[in-house]
Amino acid sequence: MSDPAIHTQAGGPSAKSLIPEGLRHLLADPMGLFGLVLVLSLVFLSLFANVLAPYDPAKIDVPSKFLPPSWDHLLGTDELGRDMFSRALYGGRVALKVALISTLVALAIGTILGFLAAYGPKWLDNAIVLILDTVRAYPTIIFALAVGPMFGAGIWTVVGILIATSVPYYGRIVRTAALTVMQSEYIDAERAMGASGLRITCVHVLPNIIGPMLIIASMDIPVIITAEAGLSFLGVGIKPPETSWGLMLDQGYRFIGRTPWMVISAGIPVIIATLGFTFLGEALRDAFDPKIRRGR
């Protein structure tokens, strides 16, 4: 995934007029609408898991273990007879929590580092770029396997690893975008009128960058959800008694010789989440990026 170019445009339509228009475009796009419905139902189901779950996700009921999906157990039961659907709902909470926290924190740190690199002295720029490129040199999963066990499995280890591996991505994009905005003529004009660097940053550069960055971040959510599930599957992520989709995949995979249903069921929420967020992110980008919209 190469750094997507951010469209930073001066004097274009203001952000305010873009929002209703962008929303209209989003709702007119069938795949975007599909993504939005998936994401909204996912958020709703996870948020109200405690009310909506038909069973206690931790309740062990050994006689009804390894049941295939049915109306009683929408996703079947696991090796201890726990209801997979109820567990998936609670797993959704973990997935969304990890995705939201990691993405926002990584975005914030990346933005700060990107700005420091763009505006700072040359040596600072070089140092930040070198650090970001160094962290980018690790494949995420290999990095997580190396470092994760040392910090102990758990939600905060996962969040920490995902922040560390996402920051370089955002930092690089923000740096490039900030440099591009800084070179535009209206910033020159602003500077000629005696505006301070801070004013230019806060009033002109940041608003131009933050919208596209949020869209890029939203497209990164399925990547984070995938990574969390993967790390939990590998045993360096969420630990029991907490539930996570990756943990359910791991359990299901262990019993794949006994029944394929457990692992198939465990995959369904991950597929819904990654598809939903991807379709929504794509549609958001198309809807709110005037450059792309014009090209259609």
Binding site: D133, A137, L249, I256, F277
Partner: protein
């Protein structure tokens, strides 16, 4: 051009050294004590001190890092705690299996993604184009781990078309390729989607260029225009994407190797982590970092060869 190459390679080298040193420090400085974890709860202080001395962990951290890096340059990655074999030998033994898998995935991505993208661009807004568009986004979204598990259940267990696990018979190339299909799909299918989209977008852009219109005006055959001129330009960005893709594929290979019980550095890493065999984990981190940095550096260089503007921008 030579200067550009030298610069890129030097930066890549520095990044690998920094990355390795950082991981070493992180692993050592982390709250979990690797020695205590390795020896288990019944370790006596003498045992711990002996192992620490053997691994050189009783020295100050900067000395350790320096010694480790010097060792790496001499091809010495230490000794596997379990098998007592040299980590270098083990990594070099397992690495080819992962490279085959990644190569097969790259081949799948390019061999399927480029023609699909090209076809979509030439038949814009047709049913096939729309279908390819939706499928591309879908295969990009769904995690390789899920594709591996579902693929195994469907094609190996249920339909019995493809073998489920292992490498295949040694010496029987066809059998080995047969065993490579499912893992390569799991690792590479998302990249088929990426390339299809990328090539489609690039192709549409190129076909609008003046020189293509010009070629058409001269009455050159359409086939000639597309394959000789347009496709060549449209394929260029895929090199960058695949260069970066190798890093992601290394991560996906971990899952493919575990699910399909294939040897390789991903499986090796997983096994080493679960028993805290950390000389091995350091070896795999080193190998995968070199591989990732080398592939991105190589794709940068190829791009600079194709497009002199990139070269000038960085010099």
């Amino acid at each position: 051009m030579l200067r550009f190459c030298a610069r890129r390679i030097a930066i890549g080298f520095v990044i690998v050294v920094l990355a390795i040193a950082t991981i070493y420090v992180l692993v050592q400085a982390a709250p979990g004590d690797p020695i205590a974890l390795m020896l288990g709860p019944r370790a006596t202080p003498e045992m711990i001190a002996a192992l620490e001395a053997r691994l050189g962990l009783d020295q100050p951290l900067p000395v350790q890092v320096l010694k480790f890096l010097i060792g790496v340059f001499q091809g010495d990655l230490g000794v596997d705690i379990k098998t007592k074999r040299l980590v270098v030998d083990e990594v070099l033994e397992q690495l080819p299996y992962t490279l085959y898998l990644i190569f097969a995935s790259l081949l799948l991505a390019a061999g399927l993604g480029i023609p699909l993208g090209c076809f979509s661009a030439l038949h814009r807004n047709s049913l096939v184009d729309r279908l390819v568009g939706i499928l591309s986004v879908s295969v990009i979204a769904v995690p390789p781990l899920i594709i591996a598990i579902y693929g195994m259940i469907l094609f190996a267990v249920h339909l019995r078309w493809l073998p489920a696990i292992g490498l295949g018979d040694r010496g029987d190339l066809l059998d080995q390729i047969h065993h490579l299909i499912l893992p390569a799909i799991a690792v590479g299918i998302g990249w088929v989607g990426y390339l299809a989209r990328l090539v489609r977008a690039a192709m549409l852009e190129v076909l609008n260029e003046d020189y293509i219109l010009n070629a058409r005006a001269f009455g050159l055959p359409e086939r000639w225009i597309i394959f000789r001129y347009a496709l060549r330009i449209a394929v260029a960005p895929t090199i960058t994407v695949l260069g970066i893709g190798v890093g992601y594929m290394l991560g996906s290979a971990v899952f493919a190797e575990i699910v399909f019980a294939r040897p390789g550095i991903g499986k090796m890493m997983y096994d080493a982590v679960s028993v805290r065999n950390y000389p091995v984990t350091m070896g795999v981190v080193l190998a995968s970092t070199i591989l990732l940095v080398a592939s991105t550096t190589l794709s940068d260089i190829i791009n600079a060869m194709i497009d002199p503007r990139i070269r000038e921008a960085q010099e």
